[in-house]
Amino acid sequence: MIVSVASGKGGTGKTTVTASLAVSWSRPVLAVDLDVEEPNLHLFLKPEVTDTEVVTIEVPEVDESKCTYCRKCAELCQFKAIAVMGKAIMTFPEMCHGCGGCMAICPEGAIGVGTRELGVMERGVSRGTLPCLTGRLRVGEAMSPPLMRYVRSCMRDESAAQSLDVLVDAPPGVSCPAMSAVADSDVIVLVTEPTPFGFHDFKLAWEAFSPYEKPIAVVINRAGLGDNRVYEFCTAQNLPILAEIPYRRDIAEHYSKGMILAELDADLGELFSKLGRDLRQLAKEARHA
């Protein structure tokens, strides 16, 4: 089963929850960081990196000796990545979405395959037994979805091959990267905090993810801070609040040292073991529904 931990608002505790679930999960599990712009899960799981793969996207490379400047490529390209002016052709690889249209449409076979580096994917092992995948966007690269697609395909292959459950640390927000990060999941966990910002973005995320028709569970972080509206909303929408992490200064300090919340004390350890059990139960019920 695949569990995605998402949030809407950033900084509500996605990584805290993912790392804690990963160390207390009762089955073999793969921990995947799909927040490729700002991956943080490795800062807590501290995996030993076994393999770093450079991930690229295919961009056009024009052989000018074959080009007849017919403009078909430039007319097709929706991303302004190729321009033809008179007897000159220019490519802007950083604009390219890698659709391959120019290569396919060129009647002269003048457009070959070049590459642009998107970032890297790191494979690693935490604590000797917990496999991890981390996508890390290159600083200056604008597009995260193609790197995420690559990490997701490895995630699906590796979890299927080794019969692993998967925990995904998703990026914040509800735009394309966040939506694609949760697309594979059996259960979506929304982490929020009971503040006006937290609640507003939680509603955005709930509206965005509901059409997937996957079970959504809620974890409330910093419980006791702010107001009560998220509780009222969850009751009204029949959304299960599976865990509440109290608002405590020692928790914030523990986090600031790069330590895993489930390991702060026995109560928190039990909170995440129970959260894991409840999530597996939720996935099971959804499968039988």
């Binding site: 712009e37 604008a142 914030a252």
Partner: protein, 290 residues
């Protein structure tokens, strides 16, 4: 005219609370929420919308089932896996379609339409602190730098028209397309971070993005007292890279309390943190003038 963008790399470090306070303190400005994916600034500024426009950007492929013969060429050419087939019937999954037009161009039956995509709304508003431009993307849309650029352009036009001197922007988390777009023509990026491994890691990445685009960086450490060791690491990083350490703000529930009241931290009775935020704004104003 000057432009400031408040960003963070990591989400939830206090960008929006701080931007709202700066919006309260700054004179002669246009306020701009560039987090078009999950905007929150409007929750504190309570804008009255005076113009509401559709954001149309790019296109999406739509298969006409009447004309489709089910040859499957589109599915084999789509690099995004955006074409689903069920019992011989092909359809495009809008969330995965990047609008590249390859399927449209190669369909032998010309069975694929390519309508413009309505990706969200953008707004011009009035607030108690002055004019504001903001937007809301629809869920699942490409988190487009184009919308960010559009908002910045509108803010500039508005500032020109009204003779305002500053464009104050609340940025998005991350380092991708919207953040890159928000840095264009910016005089100063204020990076809000916290003394945690994630805060430091994400500060390093977003600040090096600013370096890449030659944007000046000022750093605000929020909740600095949570971990003095990490805070001094951030201080050392600033010194090494030439970033201005603009403020150290304490961990204080007054920030959330102000949020619950829908106020900027500096509004109402002054708390200890409000005084420090005022000082931070003076430092940033001085940086902008230097």
């Amino acid at each position: 005219m000057r432009e400031v963008v408040v960003i963070s790399g990591k989400g939830g470090t206090g960008k929006t609370s701080l931007t709202a306070a700066f919006a309260h303190l700054a004179e002669s400005k246009v306020i701009c929420d560039l987090d078009v994916d999950a905007p929150d600034l409007h929750l504190l500024l309570d804008p009255a919308i005076i113009r509401d426009e559709a954001f149309i950007s790019g296109h999406e492929a739509v298969i006409d089932a009447e004309k489709c013969t089910g040859c499957g060429l589109c599915a084999s050419m789509c690099r995004y896996g955006a074409i689903d087939e069920k019992d011989g019937v092909f359809s495009v999954a809008p969330l995965r379609c990047e609008g590249c037009k390859v399927c449209v161009a190669f369909c032998p039956e010309q069975a694929i339409d390519f309508p413009a995509r309505h990706c969200g709304q953008h707004y011009l508003s009035e607030t108690r602190f002055g004019p504001m431009v903001h937007a809301q993307l629809f869920p699942g849309q490409e988190n487009s730098g184009l919308l960010v650029s559009r908002l910045k352009k509108e803010a500039r036009v508005l500032a020109e028209e009204r003779g305002l001197e500053l464009i104050l922007c609340d940025g998005a988390p991350g380092i991708g397309c919207p953040v890159i777009a928000s840095l264009s023509q910016t005089d100063l990026a204020v990076v809000v971070t916290e003394p945690t491994p994630s805060g430091v890691h994400d500060l390093e990445r977003v600040a090096s993005l600013c370096d890449h685009f030659r944007t000046r960086v000022a750093v605000v450490v929020n909740k600095h007292d949570l971990n003095p060791e990490q805070t001094s690491r951030i201080g050392a990083l600033c010194q090494e890279k030439g970033y201005t350490l603009a403020a150290l703000l304490p961990h204080d529930t007054a920030v959330t309390e102000a949020m619950v009241r829908r106020q900027a931290i500096t509004e109402g009775e002054d708390s200890a943190i409000a005084t420090q935020v005022r000082q931070a704004w003076r430092t940033i104003t001085n940086l902008l003038q230097s």
